[in-house]
Symmetry: C2
Subunit: 455 residues, 2 copies
């Protein structure tokens, strides 16, 4: 049943589109998964892809649309009318539908909503688009099966039957009181193995973890992972059950965040992939490169201010400049190592986290140990490369020690500050901080050199 | 029901351990989740933690042990006897049990297995430890519910009832033929809403995605994400159903890989966390820092070989050295950007991926565009900083252009080669490659300078 696309099939398929051979298109995509069809459609333009979607089953085509990445979808949906989009959204879970609606212009969005026939669905959607992407309300779907605590298993099964088509992934039935307040859950397994007349009250589990609509997405991820949940119910301020978040949304969120973090760490400014256009790819890279260049100019300015010392103390300064790369590279490496550990612990918070003060103390001890080790290696190394030049080797190893300490502290503090200010702490491993640490290292190096040289 | 640990509680709890106040320990941990108890136990030594585990419910304590991270567990289990470990493993899903067994010495492992009373469980475990960690066989659990295609719903429900306690998370029942070959699945939802006399044959879904025991873990992750699966059945070479992988294992795998990748990218050599010991943290950082230092020495050697040119052409070479940081930083930034995009596309392979040749062509065009933009900024920038020095600004901008192109190509090719050789391509963003690109940039810079200066 596995599907693998060949270039030959792709060409045959392209011909079928041009010849409007609906039968071939329908048959060759029959029982092929939405994800595989998406990969095939990526090869064609929007109009051709839309033509294919109109032929295949609506449940498949709506899944394809809901799983496109945001940028692709925004441009793809430009060839659809409001009525057509409404038809697809009607087939989707409300969370996916709301994601699409929130990508549309306000005016167009309202006309799409007008075309949605199912009144419950459209009111659910209107409700969901009010939430931000990065809170529980923005991740949840409205579709879920709930039962009243006073029901028996038969009533419960009838409820499941009624909503079975709407709720695509069913893990648990949520138990509410007469006011709609969430008070527990029953697993499907328990429902299956219980007798028909059993009361929900007798078998339900009153230990149910839930979040508030305003809980942050990162916290949702942590809770679902920590407690190993397939689905997490969402309640409003008054404890009323309003939606649920399923594990697949969380998996998507985790991989997207990891991709985003890697891009930030490597200085790429917008969400790009290798197969995007050349123009998009090069403009995503330029901003941070230019910032790096400005840092480089700053370094040049700084060095230029020592020009006279260079000329006066020719041989000394020339020897000094040989070790610029060593100082800069080590400072950068130490800074990235430090920030990376802090970023990791910020994304896995722990109740007994050490205080910032204790962390800085620990970081300082580690920096002193590593600084001493590296400084000794450099001291003996330079004595070996340039014998009879104790002064240079002392200056370089002493500045290296200082650079290691200061880079460690900067690498540790910066992500903590960024996080407190509400920015993604991964920025601290990006080119901006790296370049700053480079220049700082350079400044320390020359200042130490001039200070020690004057004695 | 949410639990938050205070320092006061921690102290009170510590006293309870010392006073052997079992009642307090049992009551205060009652209905607290395993994940929260783990965080609390992290604060105590192995003997004290073991004492607590012996008091609380076995199903909770075995979950705590199964969710510890590998390093912590290996050292923690040192205070347990073979019989005690067997008792916990007996309570776990077979995949978690097998993970623990594979961490033990061969001899100790065999005596643990001897203490496992349930014969089916011990044979399952012996079967599972044969598999590598990074293939489907190493991720799967043996516990699953299967039914024969010729059964009816009642038979199916009886089977679920029989295995209900063993299978902790139940999503689907797998359908096999008379020979145990996997031929389909039925969702629990469908079982609930079907009549008792319905035959499995009538309601089962013959479209079931499965993997082989030898399928790589990364591929398992991609398949489960792509097809949005909660559980993935695993078959042997002859198509016989032998196990299943659940989404929670995949979530753990994804976050672990992301953490590992970040550590590799930032040059930390072993799996450490911020709260590890100072000694462990500093020794995890040193190896790559030392490699960076060696790179720095290499740079110093290289620059030293120009010492005479420096002395002869004093002012020219001094001005040149001002821009060493600019060249190095830009080369490093470009290299990391390029490798990061390749790493991303290597981890999300796509059937219609462009060939390596087309990718390199595209990367070269982007490099030329960005190189030209950056080189012009630098050319005009230097003319502004050091007026009347066209030669320097020409040399710096021309070398910068060359450095951008070469760093782009190296950043693109290195992860592809590492991947082909079976290494983690994320290594390409690590300090080793970064340092190499730094030094390469420096070499290009001085070679271009000397070449252009001689005209």
């Amino acid at each position: 049943m596995k599907f693998s696309l060949t270039n030959k099939f792709k060409e045959r398929f392209y011909d079928a589109i041009k010849l409007k051979d609906e039968k071939f298109i329908f048959n060759s995509l029959y029982e092929i998964s939405p994800a595989d069809i998406t990969i095939l459609l990526n090869e064609f333009n929007s109009t051709d892809s839309k033509y294919v979607l109109d032929i295949i089953d609506l449940s498949i085509s709506s899944k394809i649309i809901s799983e496109l990445d945001q940028d692709t979808r925004i441009s793809f949906l430009k060839v659809f009318s409001a009525q057509e989009i409404a038809k697809y959204i009607e087939k989707m879970d409300s969370d996916d539908g709301a994601d699409i609606l929130s990508e549309l212009d306000l005016e167009f969005r309202n006309s799409v909503i007008k075309y949605i026939k199912d009144k419950e669905k459209s009111s659910n959607l209107k409700d969901l688009i009010r939430y931000d992407d990065n809170v529980a309300g923005g991740l949840m779907a409205k579709e879920l099966v709930r039962c009243n605590i006073n029901w028996n298993i038969v009533q419960c099964i009838n409820q499941i039957r009624k909503q079975a088509e709407e709720v695509s992934k069913l893990y648990s039935v949520y138990v509410t009181d007469n006011y709609g307040k969430l008070i527990g859950k029953v697993s499907l397994k328990k429902i299956i193995i219980s007798k028909d007349k059993t009361k929900v009250k007798e078998i339900y589990d009153d230990y149910v973890i839930s979040v508030d609509t305003s809980t942050k997405a990162e916290e949702v991820v942590i809770i679902m992972q920590k407690y190993d949940l397939d689905a997490l119910p969402v309640v409003n301020k008054r404890g009323k059950l309003v939606g649920r978040i399923t594990i697949d949304d969380v998996v998507d969120y985790i991989t997207e965040s990891a991709d985003e973090e890697r891009q930030i760490m490597s200085g790429i400014s917008s969400d790009v992939e290798e197969d995007d256009s050349i123009w998009k790819l090069s403009s995503a890279r330029l901003p941070w490169l230019i910032i790096g260049i400005l840092g480089g100019f700053f370094g040049a300015f700084f060095l230029e201010s020592f020009e006279n010392s260079f000329i006066d103390n020719n041989k000394f300064f020339i020897s000094l400049s040989f070790f610029i790369p060593l100082i800069m590279a080590t400072g950068g490496n130490v800074g990235i190592q430090s920030s990376s550990l802090v970023i990791q612990s910020l994304s896995n918070p722990n109740v007994f986290q050490d205080s910032v003060f204790i962390r800085l103390f620990k970081v300082s001890i580690i920096a002193i140990i590593n600084g001493l080790v590296l400084a000794s290696i450099v001291y003996f190394g330079i004595n070996f490369i340039i014998p009879d030049n104790n002064k240079i080797s002392f200056i370089v190893s002493f500045s290296l020690f200082t650079v290691v300490i200061i880079s460690s502290l900067m690498g540790t503090i910066t992500p903590i500050i960024l996080d407190k200010l509400g920015f993604n702490p991964a920025l601290a491993s990006g080119p901006f901080i790296t370049t700053s640490i480079d220049i700082l290292g350079l400044a320390i190096y020359f200042m130490v050199a001039i200070f020690l040289n004057s004695y």
